[in-house]
Symmetry: C3
Subunit: 315 residues, 3 copies
């Protein structure tokens, strides 16, 4: 997420109550996750094992819970609870703006686009030309939709990431990381009915040009789906997955977070994908493996009684 | 379900056309299912094998299809079709009240709660303070929502239980048990987009304090979910399940009805839970078993060809 | 799909720019898929291996990409791209009509039917008597709903078929086949919350009398579900499946396209059905097989370590 205008790091430090270490002349240009940061961004880290990755990332300003050596040209904002400081920044720079009407005056809608009744379009939404948005669709604030996009009824774009920090000592144990990312739907995408595409935590959830989703598909926060991808009904994709171009996911497939499904891979129905899949291959099963291997396994399982007949009298 | 005021058992008997056996001075205070009844409640039973459980339950008034001995201090309402008599009572004491507007005048909404556009809030709904109800949410009559609750777009609270009696002799075979229970969402709960939480048949469906649901989660009638439970996207939980505190259900898990998942248990993605699970353990597979055992099985399956090589020449 | 009035085949030929071969006096009465065509219908074929089936079907007019012998009394419309010609006809004869209000003036709604707030009812919809349509339901144009039907909140009837032709040479690779079929819900059906029932490509998607669906069920284009069928939550059924009377599908089952599940068959939870199932049997697993066989397999898998103990010292 980028700020509307750069903010002095000193102002950030004062706002969250952090000790500023390093370059105090810096201007922050946005907030982002460690794997998506660009120069000017603020990021946060609260686990020692991620300190190095954070400090060496492109982030210019790092909110951190230990006073470590500050890399040249960067700034550290040191305090006890970086997570809460981050949430405080999101609340300030991307505050929730309750709607005053069903289609926000700040939304920009292109020529030839049809908005059917009972649609909600939030603040700062941009929709391209020649789209059809069917009834009862919800488009949260800041979503961006390209041209020639069709969104079927009841679909929801931009709900919050499902992302919580466990605070075992609290009565309400799960502490929510407020999301400030967006949903971006590129040109010529079709989304079926009853889908939910969550916004990114601080980066964007993206559905690439020409990709087609059937009904009731869940796409988690920050997931990036390539071009000309085909996804059948009731597929669920967790957060920060990367689905490359031309992939096909058949019905009810489940995809874990933080993985890559390579270009042109095909995942057969009801499979569960726990980790990366190579490009161009066909997968099946939970956990998924190459379909030809999984099918051999199914055949082997049916031969266990035959094996038993051969060995049952052995001592 | 409790009546607004007690009703004489003689009035109930006359209304449903039952023979009254036992104490005719009783006042009925509500209607409930056999495993949730409290003194004063009416319950019904139409299978001989459940007679004893019903007669010995806390229910004070039992609608029954056979004239059996009436326990001391109770009343039996004897007629041929207890199911239909029960449905008749639900229609009378919890009638469907068509809405006259999108947000009922009888709904009570707390301070600081934001209701976004296109939300439906039914009759007698109560919503606490500092909640956010996102667009296109539907809250059926009689739902109760606590404080600091977030409900994302398109979610539906309080639709009818999926509960039918099979009447094989009829052209329309499935006879619906009308639901009169409620949905209760406790404080600090977050519900993702596109979830459906059904009302109880006569008891309540409850989601405990601090519990967080991702998108497209189905919770069946009368299910009780504890505190600080985490449920990932596309999980389905059938009716009358009991999910204890601190349980984690990962994506696309399916949970059968009438079972208990013990405190802190974790069920890995796409697993199917057919029966009770012990507290504190990790489960995987369909049917689910302890994850470490299931993973060993997966390894063993891959060794069948090796076993075959050893035995193929045996006679 | 039937036209409002017959159209001369010569007019069709001119409109799509095809060479007319055969009987030029014919009148076209509608458009349909090869397995549903009736005399008077236009169908299309663009794969040589389906030529014979098309030419010998009941279709009277065939759009085809090769000039072959025309069967007696029929007409061929020959052009390079039958798929695009078909889409052009759908656009002309079943054009998308943007709504001017949430409940179309052209919709016909029967006596005693309750329409709750925030419902969308499209053009030319017909709804019978004594139905309840709960909030935030979307009913696309041309859907037909019988009497005594209950549709719970958020359900979507009549979204487009998920049906694309792959054009590998194009930048936007998937070319959409516009749907012109309908959704037909017969009497006494109940649909749970958050379901999506797609329209047929050119035929109809039908849910038979007395059938009951739980929440979040997906029914694909052109699927025909019989009478008194029971479908539990989160089941997904692909296009053109045929689910016969009295079938029961438990939760999260997935059903492939173009298959038949025989009368009274039962499919246990989370199963995946790849092909036809026989009537009256119980099935389980992915891929589904008879439940008793699948349960034996699960037992055999647990015995592999025992077999290994017997053979591990064999050479």
């Amino acid at each position: 997420m980028k700020f509307e205008a750069p903010v002095a790091v000193t102002e950030i430090a004062a706002y969250i109550g952090a000790e500023l270490v390093g370059n105090s002349q810096l201007m922050a240009t946005g907030i982002n996750e460690i794997h998506k940061v660009t120069p000017g961004d603020i990021s946060f880290v609260d686990f020692e094992k991620y300190y190095n990755a954070s400090l060496q990332s492109a982030a210019t300003i790092i909110i951190i819970n230990k006073k470590v050596d500050c890399p040249e040209g960067k700034a550290l904002l040191v305090l006890d609870d970086p997570f809460s400081a981050y949430v405080k920044l999101v609340k300030r720079f991307r505050p929730f703006e309750p709607a005053t009407k069903a289609i926000s005056d700040s939304a920009v809608i292109g020529e030839g686009t049809v908005i059917q009744p009972n649609v909600f379009i939030g603040n700062h939404v941009r929709i391209g030309s020649n789209c059809v948005i069917h009834p009862n669709v919800t488009i949260y604030d800041h979503c961006i939709i390209g041209n020639n996009v069709v969104i079927h009824a009841g679909t929801v774009l931009g709900a919050d990431a499902f992302y919580f920090k466990k605070r075992a000592e609290r009565e309400v144990m799960y502490d929510k990381l407020l999301s400030c990312g967006r949903v971006i739907i590129e040109d010529d995408v079709e989304l079926g009915a009853g889908c939910t595409i969550d916004k990114g935590v601080s980066g964007d959830t993206i559905i690439g040009r020409g990709t087609k989703l059937d009904n009731m598909i869940h796409v988690g926060h920050g997931t990036v789906i390539g071009k000309n991808v085909l996804i059948a009904a009731q597929v669920g994709i967790a957060g920060k997955a990367h689905i490359e171009d031309n992939v096909i996911l058949w019905g009810q497939v489940g995809v874990n977070k933080d993985l890559t499904i390579g270009k042109g891979a095909v995942v057969l129905a009801q499979s569960g994908v726990p980790g990366n899949l190579e490009a161009g291959k066909v997968y099946f099963g939970t956990p998924s493996e190459e379909a030809r291997n999984r099918k051999k396994e199914i055949t082997w399982i049916k031969r266990i009684p035959e094996i038993w007949e051969k060995v049952k009298d052995l001592k």
